[in-house]
Symmetry: C2
Subunit: 189 residues, 2 copies
Amino acid sequence: MNYPNGIKKSSNNIISSKIDYKNRGMNLEDDLNNTNNYYIEKEKAYIYKKPTPIKLVKVDYKKGKITEAYFSMPSTTDYNGIYKGKYIDYEAKETNNIKGFPLINIHEHQITHIRNIYKENGICFLIVRFTKLNVTYLLMAKDFLWYIDNNKKSYIPKEYFMEKGYQIKDKFIPRVDYLEIIDSLEDVK
Amino acid sequence: MNYPNGIKKSSNNIISSKIDYKNRGMNLEDDLNNTNNYYIEKEKAYIYKKPTPIKLVKVDYKKGKITEAYFSMPSTTDYNGIYKGKYIDYEAKETNNIKGFPLINIHEHQITHIRNIYKENGICFLIVRFTKLNVTYLLMAKDFLWYIDNNKKSYIPKEYFMEKGYQIKDKFIPRVDYLEIIDSLEDVK
Protein backbone atom coordinates (compact mmCIF):
# COMPACT_ATOMS: atom_id res chain seq x y z
CA MET A 1 0.00 0.00 0.00
CA ASN A 2 1.42 3.35 -1.03
CA TYR A 3 -0.89 5.51 0.99
CA PRO A 4 -0.32 6.56 4.57
CA ASN A 5 -1.74 4.94 7.65
CA GLY A 6 -5.28 5.74 8.37
CA ILE A 7 -6.31 6.45 4.78
CA LYS A 8 -8.98 3.99 3.88
CA LYS A 9 -12.16 3.63 1.96
CA SER A 10 -14.77 5.85 3.45
CA SER A 11 -18.37 6.38 2.56
CA ASN A 12 -17.76 10.13 3.02
CA ASN A 13 -15.17 10.38 0.31
CA ILE A 14 -16.33 7.94 -2.29
CA ILE A 15 -19.22 8.49 -4.65
CA SER A 16 -20.18 4.94 -5.33
CA SER A 17 -23.20 2.81 -5.99
CA LYS A 18 -21.67 0.21 -3.72
CA ILE A 19 -21.97 1.93 -0.37
CA ASP A 20 -21.83 -0.73 2.30
CA TYR A 21 -25.09 -0.12 4.12
CA LYS A 22 -24.35 -2.88 6.61
CA ASN A 23 -21.67 -0.69 8.13
CA ARG A 24 -23.55 2.54 7.95
CA GLY A 25 -23.25 4.30 11.26
CA MET A 26 -21.16 1.47 12.59
CA ASN A 27 -17.67 2.81 12.08
CA LEU A 28 -16.07 5.46 14.21
CA GLU A 29 -15.82 8.07 11.45
CA ASP A 30 -19.53 7.80 10.67
CA ASP A 31 -20.38 7.90 14.37
CA LEU A 32 -18.29 11.05 14.81
CA ASN A 33 -19.84 12.73 11.77
CA ASN A 34 -23.26 11.90 13.18
CA THR A 35 -22.24 13.31 16.56
CA ASN A 36 -20.64 16.46 15.16
CA ASN A 37 -23.71 17.13 13.02
CA TYR A 38 -25.83 16.77 16.15
CA TYR A 39 -23.63 19.31 17.98
CA ILE A 40 -23.97 21.73 15.07
CA GLU A 41 -27.77 21.35 14.99
CA LYS A 42 -27.93 21.99 18.72
CA GLU A 43 -25.50 24.94 18.35
CA LYS A 44 -23.30 23.31 20.97
CA ALA A 45 -20.02 23.10 19.04
CA TYR A 46 -18.69 23.48 15.50
CA ILE A 47 -16.27 20.65 14.89
CA TYR A 48 -15.44 19.24 11.46
CA LYS A 49 -13.33 16.51 9.98
CA LYS A 50 -10.66 17.96 7.75
CA PRO A 51 -10.63 16.78 4.15
CA THR A 52 -8.05 14.10 3.38
CA PRO A 53 -4.95 15.78 1.96
CA ILE A 54 -4.41 14.80 -1.64
CA LYS A 55 -1.50 15.60 -3.94
CA LEU A 56 -2.78 16.49 -7.37
CA VAL A 57 -0.67 15.44 -10.35
CA LYS A 58 -2.90 15.76 -13.39
CA VAL A 59 -5.91 18.04 -13.46
CA ASP A 60 -8.13 19.13 -16.30
CA TYR A 61 -9.07 22.52 -14.90
CA LYS A 62 -11.56 23.22 -17.68
CA LYS A 63 -13.58 20.16 -16.69
CA GLY A 64 -12.67 20.39 -13.02
CA LYS A 65 -11.59 16.76 -13.27
CA ILE A 66 -8.62 15.23 -11.49
CA THR A 67 -7.13 12.30 -13.40
CA GLU A 68 -4.05 11.54 -11.33
CA ALA A 69 -3.60 12.17 -7.63
CA TYR A 70 -2.24 10.48 -4.52
CA PHE A 71 -3.08 10.43 -0.85
CA SER A 72 -0.63 12.39 1.20
CA MET A 73 0.34 12.36 4.85
CA PRO A 74 -1.74 14.61 7.10
CA SER A 75 0.40 16.99 9.16
CA THR A 76 -2.23 17.58 11.81
CA THR A 77 -5.06 15.65 13.42
CA ASP A 78 -8.28 14.90 11.59
CA TYR A 79 -10.81 16.88 13.59
CA ASN A 80 -10.85 20.40 14.92
CA GLY A 81 -13.20 23.21 15.75
CA ILE A 82 -14.65 25.39 18.44
CA TYR A 83 -16.39 24.58 21.71
CA LYS A 84 -17.40 27.35 24.12
CA GLY A 85 -15.02 29.69 22.31
CA LYS A 86 -12.10 27.35 22.92
CA TYR A 87 -10.08 25.48 20.36
CA ILE A 88 -10.76 21.74 20.29
CA ASP A 89 -8.69 19.21 18.36
CA TYR A 90 -8.57 15.44 18.21
CA GLU A 91 -7.54 12.39 16.30
CA ALA A 92 -9.85 9.38 16.03
CA LYS A 93 -8.68 5.85 15.31
CA GLU A 94 -10.05 2.36 15.27
CA THR A 95 -7.98 -0.70 16.00
CA ASN A 96 -8.62 -4.41 15.69
CA ASN A 97 -5.90 -5.06 18.22
CA ILE A 98 -7.27 -6.26 21.56
CA LYS A 99 -4.11 -5.74 23.64
CA GLY A 100 -3.70 -2.05 22.97
CA PHE A 101 -3.47 0.82 20.52
CA PRO A 102 -0.51 0.47 18.10
CA LEU A 103 1.40 3.74 17.96
CA ILE A 104 2.12 3.23 14.25
CA ASN A 105 -1.39 4.65 13.78
CA ILE A 106 -0.24 8.11 14.88
CA HIS A 107 2.69 9.48 12.94
CA GLU A 108 5.41 11.83 14.11
CA HIS A 109 3.94 15.05 12.67
CA GLN A 110 0.67 14.36 14.40
CA ILE A 111 2.40 13.81 17.75
CA THR A 112 4.21 17.14 17.32
CA HIS A 113 0.88 18.76 16.51
CA ILE A 114 -0.80 17.26 19.60
CA ARG A 115 2.12 18.49 21.72
CA ASN A 116 1.77 22.01 20.30
CA ILE A 117 -1.98 22.17 20.86
CA TYR A 118 -1.59 20.87 24.41
CA LYS A 119 1.07 23.49 25.21
CA GLU A 120 -1.15 26.21 23.69
CA ASN A 121 -4.00 25.19 26.04
CA GLY A 122 -6.27 23.75 23.41
CA ILE A 123 -8.66 20.95 24.33
CA CYS A 124 -6.84 18.05 22.73
CA PHE A 125 -7.34 14.30 22.89
CA LEU A 126 -7.50 10.97 21.09
CA ILE A 127 -10.61 8.91 20.53
CA VAL A 128 -9.70 5.25 20.16
CA ARG A 129 -12.16 2.48 19.41
CA PHE A 130 -11.21 -1.11 20.07
CA THR A 131 -13.51 -2.60 17.45
CA LYS A 132 -13.27 -6.25 18.57
CA LEU A 133 -14.02 -5.28 22.16
CA ASN A 134 -16.70 -2.81 21.07
CA VAL A 135 -15.40 -0.13 23.40
CA THR A 136 -14.40 3.50 22.72
CA TYR A 137 -12.10 5.61 24.88
CA LEU A 138 -11.20 9.27 25.04
CA LEU A 139 -7.60 9.86 26.16
CA MET A 140 -6.54 13.43 26.91
CA ALA A 141 -3.38 14.74 25.18
CA LYS A 142 -1.66 15.13 28.56
CA ASP A 143 -2.02 11.41 29.33
CA PHE A 144 -1.22 10.36 25.76
CA LEU A 145 1.98 12.43 25.77
CA TRP A 146 2.95 11.19 29.22
CA TYR A 147 2.70 7.61 28.01
CA ILE A 148 4.79 8.00 24.88
CA ASP A 149 7.39 10.10 26.71
CA ASN A 150 7.80 7.55 29.47
CA ASN A 151 7.49 4.22 27.68
CA LYS A 152 9.27 2.41 24.90
CA LYS A 153 6.37 0.18 23.88
CA SER A 154 5.09 0.23 20.30
CA TYR A 155 1.53 0.38 21.59
CA ILE A 156 -0.47 1.88 24.44
CA PRO A 157 -1.94 -1.02 26.43
CA LYS A 158 -5.69 -1.20 26.78
CA GLU A 159 -5.23 -1.08 30.57
CA TYR A 160 -3.79 2.43 30.23
CA PHE A 161 -6.96 3.56 28.47
CA MET A 162 -9.03 1.92 31.22
CA GLU A 163 -6.99 3.69 33.90
CA LYS A 164 -6.36 7.15 32.40
CA GLY A 165 -8.95 7.38 29.64
CA TYR A 166 -12.69 7.85 29.72
CA GLN A 167 -15.05 5.38 28.15
CA ILE A 168 -17.47 6.95 25.69
CA LYS A 169 -20.71 5.04 26.09
CA ASP A 170 -22.71 4.21 22.96
CA LYS A 171 -25.84 6.27 22.67
CA PHE A 172 -28.51 6.56 20.07
CA ILE A 173 -28.35 10.35 19.67
CA PRO A 174 -25.63 11.52 19.48
CA ARG A 175 -23.76 8.31 18.92
CA VAL A 176 -20.46 9.13 20.62
CA ASP A 177 -21.12 12.01 22.99
CA TYR A 178 -17.51 12.91 23.70
CA LEU A 179 -18.28 16.50 24.79
CA GLU A 180 -20.15 15.04 27.78
CA ILE A 181 -16.76 13.78 28.96
CA ILE A 182 -15.02 17.09 28.22
CA ASP A 183 -17.75 18.84 30.25
CA SER A 184 -17.04 16.59 33.23
CA LEU A 185 -13.32 17.41 33.35
CA GLU A 186 -12.42 20.14 35.82
CA ASP A 187 -9.18 21.24 34.14
CA VAL A 188 -10.63 21.97 30.72
CA LYS A 189 -13.42 24.23 31.97
CA MET B 1 -15.63 25.55 -15.26
CA ASN B 2 -17.07 22.74 -13.17
CA TYR B 3 -15.18 23.44 -10.00
CA PRO B 4 -16.32 25.75 -7.24
CA ASN B 5 -15.22 29.32 -6.76
CA GLY B 6 -11.88 29.75 -5.21
CA ILE B 7 -10.44 26.45 -6.44
CA LYS B 8 -7.53 27.24 -8.64
CA LYS B 9 -4.10 26.12 -9.57
CA SER B 10 -1.88 26.34 -6.56
CA SER B 11 1.77 25.53 -6.12
CA ASN B 12 0.84 23.85 -2.85
CA ASN B 13 -1.40 21.27 -4.43
CA ILE B 14 0.28 20.52 -7.68
CA ILE B 15 3.41 18.47 -8.09
CA SER B 16 4.73 19.90 -11.30
CA SER B 17 7.93 20.68 -13.04
CA LYS B 18 6.35 23.92 -14.20
CA ILE B 19 6.08 25.78 -10.91
CA ASP B 20 5.80 29.44 -11.71
CA TYR B 21 8.70 30.88 -9.74
CA LYS B 22 7.82 34.40 -10.82
CA ASN B 23 4.77 34.25 -8.59
CA ARG B 24 6.37 32.46 -5.71
CA GLY B 25 5.49 34.21 -2.50
CA MET B 26 3.45 36.71 -4.45
CA ASN B 27 -0.02 35.28 -4.08
CA LEU B 28 -2.04 35.49 -0.91
CA GLU B 29 -2.11 31.75 -0.25
CA ASP B 30 1.68 31.51 -0.40
CA ASP B 31 2.03 34.60 1.78
CA LEU B 32 -0.32 33.10 4.36
CA ASN B 33 1.50 29.77 4.34
CA ASN B 34 4.74 31.64 4.85
CA THR B 35 3.20 33.62 7.70
CA ASN B 36 1.58 30.60 9.38
CA ASN B 37 4.85 28.67 9.21
CA TYR B 38 6.56 31.62 10.85
CA TYR B 39 3.98 31.62 13.66
CA ILE B 40 4.52 27.88 14.16
CA GLU B 41 8.30 28.29 14.30
CA LYS B 42 7.93 31.08 16.85
CA GLU B 43 5.38 28.98 18.80
CA LYS B 44 2.97 31.89 18.54
CA ALA B 45 -0.01 30.16 16.92
CA TYR B 46 -0.89 26.91 15.14
CA ILE B 47 -3.01 27.78 12.15
CA TYR B 48 -3.28 25.63 9.02
CA LYS B 49 -4.97 25.74 5.68
CA LYS B 50 -7.42 22.90 5.35
CA PRO B 51 -6.88 20.56 2.43
CA THR B 52 -9.13 21.20 -0.56
CA PRO B 53 -12.13 18.88 -0.35
CA ILE B 54 -12.11 16.37 -3.18
CA LYS B 55 -14.73 13.81 -4.13
CA LEU B 56 -13.08 10.55 -5.08
CA VAL B 57 -14.68 8.51 -7.83
CA LYS B 58 -12.08 5.96 -8.90
CA VAL B 59 -9.27 4.87 -6.63
CA ASP B 60 -6.80 2.06 -6.95
CA TYR B 61 -6.29 1.45 -3.25
CA LYS B 62 -3.50 -1.09 -3.82
CA LYS B 63 -1.41 1.56 -5.57
CA GLY B 64 -2.82 4.43 -3.53
CA LYS B 65 -3.58 6.14 -6.83
CA ILE B 66 -6.63 8.25 -7.54
CA THR B 67 -7.64 8.16 -11.20
CA GLU B 68 -10.91 10.08 -11.14
CA ALA B 69 -11.91 12.78 -8.71
CA TYR B 70 -13.56 16.19 -8.61
CA PHE B 71 -13.21 19.33 -6.57
CA SER B 72 -16.06 19.79 -4.15
CA MET B 73 -17.50 22.76 -2.33
CA PRO B 74 -15.92 23.55 1.03
CA SER B 75 -18.48 23.79 3.83
CA THR B 76 -16.27 25.87 6.08
CA THR B 77 -13.54 28.47 5.72
CA ASP B 78 -10.06 27.60 4.53
CA TYR B 79 -7.97 28.36 7.59
CA ASN B 80 -8.35 27.54 11.24
CA GLY B 81 -6.33 26.86 14.34
CA ILE B 82 -5.41 28.02 17.80
CA TYR B 83 -4.04 31.31 19.10
CA LYS B 84 -3.57 31.89 22.83
CA GLY B 85 -5.86 28.93 23.51
CA LYS B 86 -8.66 30.51 21.50
CA TYR B 87 -10.18 29.27 18.31
CA ILE B 88 -9.24 31.29 15.23
CA ASP B 89 -10.87 30.91 11.82
CA TYR B 90 -10.70 32.84 8.57
CA GLU B 91 -11.24 32.83 4.86
CA ALA B 92 -8.70 34.41 2.51
CA LYS B 93 -9.52 35.67 -0.97
CA GLU B 94 -7.91 37.63 -3.73
CA THR B 95 -9.86 39.76 -6.15
CA ASN B 96 -8.92 41.58 -9.34
CA ASN B 97 -11.89 43.83 -8.87
CA ILE B 98 -10.92 47.37 -7.92
CA LYS B 99 -14.34 48.59 -6.77
CA GLY B 100 -14.89 45.99 -4.11
CA PHE B 101 -15.01 42.37 -3.06
CA PRO B 102 -17.59 40.35 -5.04
CA LEU B 103 -19.69 38.29 -2.64
CA ILE B 104 -19.89 35.44 -5.13
CA ASN B 105 -16.46 34.52 -3.73
CA ILE B 106 -17.98 33.46 -0.42
CA HIS B 107 -20.71 30.87 -0.72
CA GLU B 108 -23.71 30.37 1.53
CA HIS B 109 -22.29 27.51 3.63
CA GLN B 110 -19.26 29.58 4.42
CA ILE B 111 -21.36 32.54 5.53
CA THR B 112 -23.33 30.24 7.84
CA HIS B 113 -20.04 28.92 9.19
CA ILE B 114 -18.68 32.43 9.81
CA ARG B 115 -21.93 33.32 11.60
CA ASN B 116 -21.65 30.23 13.81
CA ILE B 117 -18.03 30.88 14.74
CA TYR B 118 -18.79 34.52 15.52
CA LYS B 119 -21.71 33.56 17.79
CA GLU B 120 -19.50 30.98 19.52
CA ASN B 121 -16.92 33.71 20.30
CA GLY B 122 -14.22 32.46 17.99
CA ILE B 123 -11.79 34.94 16.45
CA CYS B 124 -13.18 35.06 12.94
CA PHE B 125 -12.44 37.27 9.95
CA LEU B 126 -11.82 37.61 6.23
CA ILE B 127 -8.51 38.47 4.63
CA VAL B 128 -9.11 40.11 1.25
CA ARG B 129 -6.38 41.16 -1.14
CA PHE B 130 -7.16 43.62 -3.90
CA THR B 131 -4.44 42.41 -6.25
CA LYS B 132 -4.58 45.31 -8.72
CA LEU B 133 -4.36 47.83 -5.91
CA ASN B 134 -1.76 45.74 -4.07
CA VAL B 135 -3.53 46.14 -0.75
CA THR B 136 -4.69 43.54 1.77
CA TYR B 137 -7.38 44.02 4.40
CA LEU B 138 -8.55 42.10 7.41
CA LEU B 139 -12.29 42.45 8.04
CA MET B 140 -13.70 41.05 11.28
CA ALA B 141 -16.68 38.65 11.03
CA LYS B 142 -18.85 41.13 12.94
CA ASP B 143 -18.34 43.82 10.29
CA PHE B 144 -18.60 41.38 7.40
CA LEU B 145 -21.92 40.02 8.71
CA TRP B 146 -23.23 43.49 9.40
CA TYR B 147 -22.57 44.47 5.80
CA ILE B 148 -24.24 41.48 4.19
CA ASP B 149 -27.21 41.67 6.59
CA ASN B 150 -27.81 45.35 5.86
CA ASN B 151 -27.04 45.71 2.18
CA LYS B 152 -28.28 44.24 -1.04
CA LYS B 153 -25.14 44.82 -3.07
CA SER B 154 -23.39 41.91 -4.77
CA TYR B 155 -20.07 43.16 -3.50
CA ILE B 156 -18.56 44.86 -0.46
CA PRO B 157 -17.17 48.22 -1.63
CA LYS B 158 -13.50 48.85 -1.08
CA GLU B 159 -14.45 51.91 0.98
CA TYR B 160 -16.09 49.62 3.53
CA PHE B 161 -12.79 47.75 3.94
CA MET B 162 -11.01 51.11 4.32
CA GLU B 163 -13.48 52.22 6.97
CA LYS B 164 -14.16 49.05 8.96
CA GLY B 165 -11.25 46.81 8.02
CA TYR B 166 -7.58 46.90 8.93
CA GLN B 167 -4.89 47.10 6.34
CA ILE B 168 -2.27 44.37 6.65
CA LYS B 169 1.01 45.96 5.71
CA ASP B 170 3.46 43.97 3.60
CA LYS B 171 6.46 42.82 5.56
CA PHE B 172 9.42 40.68 4.73
CA ILE B 173 9.04 38.28 7.68
CA PRO B 174 6.31 37.28 8.22
CA ARG B 175 4.75 38.43 4.99
CA VAL B 176 1.20 39.15 6.16
CA ASP B 177 1.33 39.60 9.92
CA TYR B 178 -2.39 39.45 10.58
CA LEU B 179 -2.02 38.45 14.24
CA GLU B 180 -0.48 41.87 14.87
CA ILE B 181 -3.90 43.29 14.02
CA ILE B 182 -5.75 40.75 16.15
CA ASP B 183 -3.44 41.68 19.06
CA SER B 184 -4.37 45.34 18.67
CA LEU B 185 -8.12 44.72 18.95
CA GLU B 186 -9.52 45.23 22.42
CA ASP B 187 -12.58 43.03 22.01
CA VAL B 188 -10.76 39.86 20.99
CA LYS B 189 -8.34 39.87 23.90
